[in-house]
């Protein structure tokens, strides 16, 4: 079942065409990569999917429902979660609070219950706490729940961001350069983590990445974007040897 279907997606900013006629389809459960040189428009695609921008033309269909024009929070509620290139954790809040906020969209009690401190509030808070700690445990962050998010080392901040995104119980997880700033060992761990969460949480994953070892190692299918257009798609081996892709990255044909 095609979980995400992007058709003829186009977006311009002023005079600059960021995306032109992008078509992309992802099946349920796939692990797909989106690569391309800097400035190709990859993050713009993510921003369009998650509702930060509205497309000029084209359709974004998630789970057979059109999504273009919806507000970001609505898109998240439909089951799309994302992480950011430059980590947008709630820096001054604790690790636990960051995850609890992700659980808010399904809060098990009403506002009046919180204000009147009814029993449903206490039960609800207990279950939120339990659920949040569960995510922290999965990502090896328990014990740090009271720490301020910005005080965590970089690798743990990245893990927290992914944990937070997962806490919104998405069906589609979008990762924007998850390996940025990581050394080879950390990248290796990340690859295993990505594979594992795809299994464990029954997710579909779409990721942007520059680190080719991660992309080639983990993605089942890859789309290549250059100057706002898809220039190639296919399995990692096909992409690796595709002359157009090589040209896009290196400028001129390398023989």
């Amino acid at each position: 079942m095609t979980i995400l279907n992007i058709q003829n997606l186009s977006k311009s900013f002023g005079g600059l065409t960021a995306l032109a006629d992008v078509n992309l389809a992802i099946e349920n459960g796939e692990l797909v990569g989106l690569i391309g040189p800097n400035g190709a428009g990859k993050t713009t695609v993510f921003n369009l999917i998650t509702g930060v921008y509205r497309p000029d033309r084209g359709h974004i269909i998630f789970d057979e429902k059109p999504m273009e024009g919806l507000l970001p929070y609505k898109i998240c509620q439909l089951g799309v979660a994302r992480t950011f290139q430059n980590i947008r954790l709630f820096k001054q809040l604790t690790v636990l609070e960051n995850v609890k906020i992700a659980l808010h969209k399904d809060v098990p009690y009403q506002l009046y219950s919180a204000i009147l401190r009814l029993p449903t509030f206490f039960r609800g808070e207990a279950s939120i706490e339990e659920e949040a700690m569960r995510y922290l445990r999965i990502f090896g962050l328990e014990g740090k729940q009271g720490e301020i998010a910005s005080s965590l080392p970089y690798g743990e901040q990245r893990r927290l961001e992914i944990a937070r995104a997962l806490a919104t119980r998405p069906r589609l997880l979008i990762l924007d350069e998850p390996a940025a700033g990581m050394n080879p060992q950390e990248t290796q761990n990340l690859m295993e983590l990505i594979r594992w969460i795809r299994e464990e949480f029954e997710l579909t994953i779409l990721l942007i990445e520059h680190d080719m070892s991660l992309v080639m190692g983990v993605c089942e299918r890859i789309y290549v974007l250059d100057y706002g257009r898809i220039i190639a798609q296919g399995a990692p081996d096909e992409i690796r040897n595709n002359p157009r892709v090589i040209e896009a990255y290196l400028g001129e044909e390398v023989s």
Partner: protein, 293 residues
């Protein structure tokens, strides 16, 4: 029809004054993205300097204006250095709160030392003559105000477009870091911007003293707000916008006063502000911007 043209004419001198004040707001916002709440009060200080210059030093109006411009240029630079520079990398809200503090400070220090009583601008400083051209009344005060304002605005345009300092101002507004890398002293440029804007406001202050005849420590608040609306109307950060906005606000105000109720005169400014912010916050000449994610 004559009535309409008369109102239009009346609005020109008020508009010229608002334009002078609006320029200060717009230049400061353009360069450090701060709504300088204290700007109207700098205008007030200018008015007082002009007043004392005339009454205590016996200077003529032109000298009074020059003194005021000089004094306020210094004042503007001081305020920037003491209150705004430390917050240059803070949130805009923090800077706005500080600006509110600076505004209150100027107002109440003036009240403390000079009492809240209003002072009257001596009429001899500028004897009033009414003229009549094609059936419309205009006074020498109006003519003086309009001409002076236009001269100052032309001077400003020259500085901004044809001097290195002006170029530096434009560079810093566009991209502060790039300007720094080009060897432009950002601090000096920002100080210069404040000096220019404050000088213009000072001139406006003296002109208001002439126009209305009296000055008081809280006189900067309402005209300041109206001039701010003018700056937003024209497109905040855009210099020609402030000039256009100023004249529009002046004419609008005299129209509302003349045709409508003078009780709602001040509320019109707020109304215009809300309307602009809701319909086109970037103003008449502004372009749309969105946050990069």
């Amino acid at each position: 029809m004559v009535e309409f043209l008369q109102q239009l004419l009346n609005g020109l001198s008020l508009g010229a004054i608002y334009a002078l004040i609006a320029l200060g707001y717009t230049m400061v916002y353009g360069i450090i993205l701060l709504i300088n709440f204290a700007h109207g009060d700098i205008m007030m200080v200018g008015a007082y300097v002009g007043f004392f210059s005339i009454t205590m030093l016996g200077s003529n109006v032109i000298m009074a204006i020059l003194f005021a411009m000089l004094a306020c240029a210094v004042l503007g630079v001081l305020i920037e250095k003491i209150a705004y520079r430390p917050l240059r990398n803070s949130t805009r809200i923090a800077a706005l709160i500080t600006a509110i503090g600076a505004s209150l400070f100027l107002e109440y220090v003036t009240i403390f030392f000079l009492t809240p009583q209003q002072r009257v601008f001596p009429a001899e400083a500028f004897p009033l003559h009414q003229y009549q051209i094609i059936g419309l009344y205009i006074s020498n005060k109006d003519i003086f105000i309009i001409i002076l304002a236009v001269v100052l605005m032309v001077l400003l345009q020259y500085i901004v477009k044809h001097t290195r300092a002006g170029k530096a101002m434009r560079a810093v507004s566009l991209d502060r870091e790039a300007a720094m890398l080009m060897g432009i002293s950002v601090d000096k440029t920002i100080s210069f911007t404040f000096a220019l804007g404050s000088a213009l406001a000072a001139a406006a202050g003296v002109l208001i003293g002439l126009y209305y005849g009296t000055i008081n420590p809280l006189m900067g608040i309402i005209p300041g707000l109206k001039a701010f609306v003018a700056a937003v109307l024209g497109g905040i950060g855009i210099i020609p916008g402030a000039m256009v906005g100023g004249f529009v606000m002046g004419i609008l105000e005299t129209m509302v006063s003349g045709y409508g109720s003078s009780m709602y005169r001040d509320a019109v400014a707020f109304g215009v502000l809300i309307l602009i912010l809701l319909i086109k916050p970037t103003g008449i000449f502004g372009r749309n911007e969105s946050e990069k994610v």
